[in-house]
Symmetry: C2
Subunit: 468 residues, 2 copies
């Protein structure tokens, strides 16, 4: 869908009155400079951006509330911004309005070591938090690759490589501070590990992509750094063997911390980009966390499974540096893929299916890609049944773009037919709204009722997730 | 709060027109018999019941939708009913209306062994499901004690003894079929292990206690039966030592499956009720799940911790029968407590706090109970920071009831001050609505907006969770 199509019927609001009030409030922390606006209207995705009319650099929750109240009074759209690393056009200001940049909200408000939780302002990134936690023996596991802000990760229900063990933001956000569409400050959830006190507003806001309110603080679960960690890499004769090893690992109940698939195209890309020399074959990266004995036991079980499915060369990376190199290569997969075809546009997309259907889904998709002639490496958080493609497209080649869209449509239809979802972790933004409808049908009408109840004027990140 | 106080301003609706239509639809499966109505208006709690005007025994989702559409047309309240084992007056028909009993909806619709999930109708109980799963090597872990229906467990966000390892219904419901207040059938969630596709309606309905819709089907996560299981019991010189052992176990990161506290009063009650002969001391029950080596390692770690905090007599129950006896005694704790004082009314309540505050919260509460002169055994899912009291009260002794209310108010205020919640797993019903306000403040206003959006006529279990 083009940005234009997403503009729907609601007219743009003249932003001048809101901007005038915001300038009085924020002084130099309100910017209308073209470069700043451009940068805040475009995420790292393939989707067209759209600059906001101004960018407000907020420093506190109270300030966010004040900004939202001004925007609400003038019915001016509000688009929250963390690091701009989203993937479905989430931050494009489709109807203009004010981008609230929370990247200066970087206070780590509390770390409760004994309770394994912390509270941070929304602009703290996951790497900053883990750096801060280094001497505590604790860490925050969710790792979507990009060094995203924790507010943004909550807003998009991020996950990543080790969700298979630790869950996603859905499982790891204990509570939120949210500014509602009318500028109230609301705290949801709490520090108790469980509660049956009322509606789960925390999880309603997690994944709401800024369409229900602005997340300004996040209470998070933390975990003890495992006593032992080991990583391994294993190559397979074919994609099927690799995927089946992942499936068997999960079905056997091994509490693996990470299990990542790279197809041979992606391995080639990583070799070139990260100066590695892995065999150009379908490959699994594993990581095991636990006690020393536990890790050894897990690795032994998985090693045997890999062998059964034609895996060879189970190589260990027990030293921290080796592991870092391995996971850095994995994290750079997107950039590596893009470098495989210099000058190309990269269109990243993902689906997630029940694990029993994963091999079938990946293999059919791979065949479809090959038949289309498009270069599109596959990587996957396969322990969760989640995999990603990056279509590498020639800018301006309309036929190729159309072919990619068709491959993508078929992949998502396939995933939905298998009981899966149109996005495991990238979110809806404006790029996948039609697929949300295909996936959830009548439930989207219910989402719309919730949206209208909490944001009757449709000022919170309008044009994303649900159409109103 | 009395039932009368909860009636608020909305008048009762004449149920006759809805009943006439429902009789035409359901024939003998609509009952207006006094005994049936009484039984459906009163849960197992201390709170006063209120019979519905009629009870509809539904058999399919379509039938529930038809019933709700009839009730919606006549603005007649709807109260869903599973097994009636809730604890905060959840099923009292405060404004009369129609109770929808789903206990005949007992189909197990699918079990996907390879994907570790299943889909059941709402009336299937947890024991029935586990019985059904027996030959598959899978099980559903959530265990609130009562053999509750899975629809009811989802509706109340139930948890129980092994939530410390497996999570609560929040973490284990993958999706729902829900009949909305206007009688639409909506499917939420899906079978993928993670998804970032739109608002998390599944978790909005989990814990909504029938106030947003009627849950008719539940998609659940399942787990492989662990290779090895062992249980142990350990007695402590004082409550503090027992609680501190639990805290240290969690903080050490031992993936214990169950860690249950019984104070000496409760142990005495269990001995008498379950014909056991445990020392009448604060006691912990443990259960460990994992590989053989893993279980041994966990047990060793916990044994050492218990010893450090004054635990003695770490006794093993490795045989299935011994474990069953031990957990049966734990599950019967409520009835054992009541038997401690024959003829008494039992008022069960619970709170949950961050684990670092658990010892303080339990000890202060225990002192308060002792000073009040009320008999009130304590049990706790202490790995989660969650504990329960049963106040054993003389019927008709108003002064004693008032004293218990005061102890309870102080306990909840204490828990909230410590960053905890007014209920870890019993829910709000109408018994804890004022505490919900104390805990969540402005967020309750947001809950109300959601409620009004999804149930504008307030027909879904009115008078529970939030006042409208």
């Amino acid at each position: 869908m083009s940005v234009a199509e997403s503009h729907f019927d609601q007219p743009r609001v003249d932003p001048a009155p809101a901007i005038a009030e915001l300038e009085a409030l924020l002084g130099e922390r309100l910017s209308t400079a073209a470069a700043v606006r451009e940068q805040h209207g475009k995420d790292v995705s393939y989707h067209e951006g759209m600059p906001p009319d101004a960018v407000a650099f907020a420093e506190t929750t109270d300030e966010v509330a004040e900004i939202v109240r001004i925007c609400a009074r003038h019915k001016t759209p509000v688009v929250p911004f963390g690091t701009g690393t989203s993937l479905e056009g989430h931050i494009a200001a489709l109807r203009g309005g004010i981008c609230i940049d929370v990247s200066r909200m970087t206070a780590i408000l509390e770390v409760n070591q004994e309770d394994l939780d912390c509270r941070v302002q929304a602009g703290v990134t996951r790497k900053t938090l883990n750096e801060y936690l280094r001497d505590t023996g604790l860490f925050f596991p969710i790792d979507p690759g990009a060094d995203a802000s924790l507010g943004g990760m909550a807003a998009t229900r991020a996950s990543g490589t080790n969700a298979v063990r630790y869950g996603t933001m859905r499982e790891n956000v204990l509570g939120l501070t949210v500014v509602t569409a009318d500028g109230r400050i609301v705290r949801t959830g709490g520090r108790a590990r469980k509660s049956s006190a009322g509606y789960d507003l925390t999880r309603l806001f997690v994944g709401s992509e800024g369409t229900l309110g602005v997340i300004t603080e996040v209470q998070l679960r933390l975990y003890g750094v495992p006593e032992a960690t080991s990583a391994a890499i294993c190559h397979f004769a074919d994609l099927e063997g690799a995927v089946n090893t992942a499936i068997a690992t999960i079905q056997t109940g091994v509490p693996v911390a990470r299990i990542e698939l790279l197809d041979e195209v992606q391995v080639k890309a990583c070799n070139a980009y990260s100066k590695l020399s892995y065999p150009e074959k379908p490959t699994l990266f594993f990581e095991f966390h636990g006690t020393k004995a536990g890790v050894a036991e897990q690795a032994e079980t998985v090693g045997a499974l890999a062998e059964e499915f034609g895996g060879s060369g189970f190589q260990w990376a027990t030293r921290q540096e080796e592991r870092t190199a391995l996971w850095q290569a994995r994290h750079d997969a997107y950039w590596a893929a893009k470098a495989l075809k210099p000058g190309s546009e990269g269109w990243a997309t993902d689906v997630c299916v029940p694990i029993s259907r994963l091999a079938e889904c990946i293999l059919e998709t791979k065949r479809d890609i090959q038949e289309s002639g498009i270069l599109a490496p596959i990587v996957g958080h396969v322990g969760d049944g989640n995999f990603h493609l990056v279509y590498l497209l020639d800018p301006g080649d309309a036929a190729q773009h159309k072919a990619a869209e068709e491959v993508n449509d078929r992949m998502i239809a396939r995933a939905l037919k298998m009981g899966g979802t149109c996005t495991g972790e990238h979110g809806i933004g404006y790029g996948k709204m039609h697929f949300l409808q295909a996936e959830h049908g009548e439930a989207v009408a219910l989402m719309r009722q919730v949206k209208l109840a909490l944001d009757p004027d449709n000022i919170m990140n309008p044009g994303k997730v649900v159409r109103v």
